[in-house]
């Protein structure tokens, strides 16, 4: 621990505090605002998926439900590996922490690869681009933003993994780093839970993904 942070921490008992670390509180606050962020995107999609357009196809007509189910499963399981990493670190098991971190990053990358595949499929095979109709625009922007979040998460996981080999591992105050990345990661996962159900399963027209 550095001199400065130690110094500041001495003042701690002079504060009325929630007892939640600053950075963690900040992360929770930020995540709660992300609901509004993704909410707007989902709203936007739901609006346009309820309309009809001259230009087709719409996403709902061309979903590949089996494929998306698998990638949703992958993302869901990455939450498990993430929480196992967190658990391993709390037990002080550096090796296991690293393994689970890497596993999480891998699962995240698989999910992203799936999304890249899905996009390419939609664009080249099905002929649906962002410019096709508003529903398609909404679909790409929504899942694109989610994908960006996943990608940022993967980068953070990999940086944690990198850090874990340096400077005495992830222990001590770096524990908080892992916890924060974990919170973010799970959040991205729960958003996908909503997207998978509301955006894919509920709007897909019968026959899609047949």
């Amino acid at each position: 621990m550095t001199a400065a942070s130690h110094e500041v921490s001495e003042h701690h008992d002079e504060h009325e505090s929630t007892g939640v670390e600053n950075r963690k509180l900040a992360m929770w606050a930020f995540l709660s605002s992300e609901f509004l962020f993704f909410g707007a995107l989902i709203t936007n999609y739901l609006l346009y998926s309820s309309r009809t357009f001259e230009q087709g196809p719409t996403p709902a007509e061309i979903y590949d439900i089996p494929f998306t189910s698998v990638s949703s499963f992958v993302l869901l399981m990455s939450s498990l590996t993430m929480v196992l990493a967190h658990n391993a670190l709390s037990r002080g098991d550096q090796g296991a922490t690293r393994t689970w971190l890497l596993a999480t990053a891998m699962l995240g990358s698989v999910f992203l690869a799936g999304q890249v595949f899905e996009f390419t499929e939609f664009i080249t095979v099905q002929g649906m681009t962002m410019q096709t109709n508003p529903a398609a625009s909404a679909f790409f922007v929504l899942t694109g933003f989610h994908g960006t979040h996943v990608a940022i998460g993967v980068i953070m996981l990999l940086s944690l993994f990198g850090l874990s080999k340096r400077m005495g591992g992830l222990t001590d105050k770096r524990f908080l780093n892992l916890e924060l990345v974990g919170l973010y990661w799970h959040f991205v996962d729960i958003i996908w839970i909503v997207i998978f159900t509301v955006v894919y399963l509920l709007t897909a027209v019968p026959g899609a993904g047949g």
Binding site: M1, T2, A3, A4, S5, H6, E7, V8, S9, H11, H12, D13, E14, H15, E16, S17, T18, G19, V20, E21, N22, R23, L25, A26, A29, F30, S32, S33, E34, F35, L36, F37, A40, L41, N44, L47, Y48, R51, T52, F53, E54, Q55, M130, Q131, N133, P134, S137, A138, F140, V141, K173
Partner: protein, 659 residues
């Protein structure tokens, strides 16, 4: 305690200077950041004000040709965007930054470097927005097939500068790619996006600061009202900015990447934009007023020598306004054809907001009542706020009567409403705060006589400017109009004269500020006989704020250090009050123990600098140059982030394990 700083790798040597140019660039001190916010916002106030003056010169006659239609449209857009996002919000942020730690007895905010980042992002966002004047062009929408000459270059259709001309709420599809080609609006949209990032960062920072850094004993109901309002505003920002972020993303995607969100010909829905914009926009207006209400809640008790009447009610009313404020957005859309149920529902929620607002107004009045009122300049502004804001609020209620709004909507009656709340409310409140806390950051007093001249010039000019607008609006003068009916000329002239009286008042203020900052009388420690903690330390505030972090025993802690009460409940100055002050002054100037402060850093400004580069890149993304800009900007921010991460985390208030 060991010194291990040297062990950590950093890219740069840590900046060390405490004064001079670099100390401002690298500062993480909330006070310096607050002051920078203040000056920047003030410069923008003059810019936004001059834009308003140009509008008013044009509107002084009905068939004026002072401005072209395009310039007129551009100027009212930049005027509003400037005043709202580059004046009132950052001015409020200036007070929050400066005062939040001081009023809760803390050394700094929770994340000082993040705080610096907010400021730089704001500054670069503002500069980016205005750089559109140079880098963009407004072309009139193409109305002719090639070969038919004529309207590509009509004298009135082209703006001299590249001013964005969609109005501050940029209704779609008019502000979309088809009807507002050219780059001007992209600058506005991306500029707002950047400004939003700045505010979001500060809001998280302030929330954490509020919850975790209050001095020992400062329980929730001992927190000064201004700080409460800071928290409420932070929450409003936290929950409303993501909405506008998405809405702006959609517009920029429409404009740059060919999506069809608001393209009605392809099935896009223009009403969606209105919902998203006002879902943000209405909370935004409370973001603009609540800090001013907080300021007034600090000033009135001090100058009435009475505690704030119904403190808890005032706090809860503030929170209530904010909460209700999320449920009224469609009152801006009463005329846009929303369903009957929606009109009724939103009409009802809108009138409901008058109730908590009324609670605040009446509690302020009750604080005045039976007080011992000193009409010093800050108090004059606070009373100005109280009376002028009420006018604006009441006209707001007349809009909430839905059918009336169908007549009033989009007329100067609305323009009158929102200037009464924005100028008569936010701006008067903010200037009250400037007069009140000027000694705090400068150590000197502003001149009272000039202050009073300023105040009365503004009361005269302000009412001359905005009161006739009610009448003009009811007479059918629509807003955003470049021409109007000659029968309305008389009152428009009065309005225009009023605007110049406001400008004159501001010049008086500027002179007062300039002179007093150098030669004003020294303020001493507690010039107003105030009640809150920030006055328990010397003026100007020492870098470390509190030499000894205070312990709080009640609301108005500082007052109770000076005053007891007799059996009637009247304040009696304690015998040791003077010696308490002397002691506070003494330790404040010569701290008994060494104080460690977060060190300055280069990384916030570097990281912020990446954002406008990315934004330029998006605007010019079709060219190689643009793509390169995106990459360079992203790399710059990323590199700064890595540097940031590898710098020691002085600002993290790590809790010890036994917390």
């Amino acid at each position: 305690m060991t010194t291990t700083t040297a062990r950590t790798t950093t890219i740069f040597r840590r900046p060390r200077s405490e004064t001079g140019f670099w100390s401002w660039i690298t500062t993480v001190d909330h006070k310096k950041i607050g002051i920078m916010y203040g000056y920047t916002a003030f410069i923008f106030f003059v810019i936004g004000g001059v834009e308003a003056l140009l509008l008013r010169i044009h509107l002084a006659s009905a068939e004026s040709t002072f401005l072209t239609a395009a310039d007129y449209n551009g100027l009212f857009t930049t005027h509003a965007v400037t005043m709202i996002f580059l004046v009132v919000m950052p001015m409020s942020a200036a007070f929050m930054n400066y005062l939040l730690p001081l009023m809760i007895g803390a050394r700094d905010v929770a994340f000082p470097r993040l705080n610096a980042l907010s400021y730089w992002v704001f500054l670069f966002g503002g500069i980016f927005l205005y750089s559109g004047l140079i880098f963009s062009s407004v072309v009139p929408p193409l109305g002719v097939t090639p070969g038919v000459t004529g309207n590509l270059d009509p004298s009135d259709a082209r703006s001299f500068f590249g001013l964005p001309d969609g109005g501050w709420f940029m209704y779609q599809p008019n502000a979309g790619p088809a009807f507002s080609p050219g780059r001007a609006l992209d600058f506005a949209v991306l500029g707002l996006q950047i400004l939003g990032i700045a505010s979001l960062l500060s809001s998280v920072n302030f929330i954490v600061t509020f919850f975790n850094l209050r001095a020992k004993g400062m329980r929730l109901l001992r927190v000064p009202v201004f700080i409460w309002m800071t928290l409420v505003v932070a929450f409003l920002l936290l929950f409303s900015l993501p909405i506008i972020a998405i809405a702006l993303f959609m517009v920029i995607f429409d404009r740059q990447f060919g999506t069809l969100f608001f393209d009605a010909t392809a099935g896009g829905d223009p009403i969606l934009w209105q919902h998203l914009f006002w879902l943000f926009g209405h909370p935004e207006v409370y973001i603009l007023i609540l800090p001013a209400m907080g300021i007034v809640s600090e000033i009135i008790p001090v100058f009435s020598r009475k505690p704030l009447f119904g403190y808890a009610a005032v706090v809860f009313a503030g929170a209530g306004i904010a909460f209700l404020g999320f449920g009224v957005w469609a009152h801006h859309m009463f005329a846009s054809g929303i369903s009957t149920v929606a009109q009724v529902g939103f009409g009802l929620t809108t009138v409901a907001i008058a109730i908590p607002t009324g609670v605040k107004i009446f509690n302020w009045m009750a604080t005045l009542w039976l007080g011992r009122i000193r009409l010093a300049t800050p108090m004059l502004f606070a009373l100005g706020f109280l009376t002028m804001f009420t006018i604006g609020g009441l006209s707001g209620v007349t809009h909430a009567v839905v059918p009336s709004d169908w007549q009033q909507h989009d007329t100067y009656y609305i323009v009158a409403h929102f200037h009464y709340v924005l100028f008569g409310g936010s701006i008067l409140g903010i200037f009250g705060g400037l007069y009140y806390w000027f000694p705090k950051f400068s150590g000197r007093m502003l001149d009272e006589r000039l202050g009073k001249i300023h105040f009365w010039l503004w009361m005269l000019g302000f009412n001359m400017t905005f009161a006739p607008m009610h009448w003009l609006g009811l007479q059918g003068m629509i807003r955003r109009t470049w021409r109007y009916d000659p029968s309305l000329e008389f009152w428009n002239r009065i309005v225009s004269v009023g605007a110049f009286i406001i400008a004159l008042g501001l010049l008086v203020f500027m002179w007062n500020f300039y002179r007093s900052k150098r030669r004003g009388p020294l303020a001493g420690m507690d010039p107003w006989d105030a009640r809150t903690l920030e006055w328990s330390i010397p003026n100007p505030t020492p870098v470390f704020n509190f030499a000894e972090v205070p312990v709080v025993h009640g609301l108005d802690e500082f007052w109770h250090q000076k005053y007891g009460e007799d059996k009637d409940g009247r304040p009696v100055r304690k015998d040791d009050a003077d010696s308490t002050l002397t002691r506070l002054q003494e330790i404040g100037t010569n701290p008994p123990n060494p104080v460690h402060l977060p060190s300055p850093s280069y990384f916030p400004i570097l990281m912020a600098a990446g954002l406008p580069l990315i934004a330029y890149g998006i605007i010019f993304h079709l060219s190689l140059f643009g793509k390169a800009l995106i990459v360079v900007g992203a790399l710059l921010s990323l590199a700064a982030l890595i540097g940031w991460g590898s710098e020691p985390l002085e600002e993290a208030h790590m809790e010890p394990a036994h917390a």
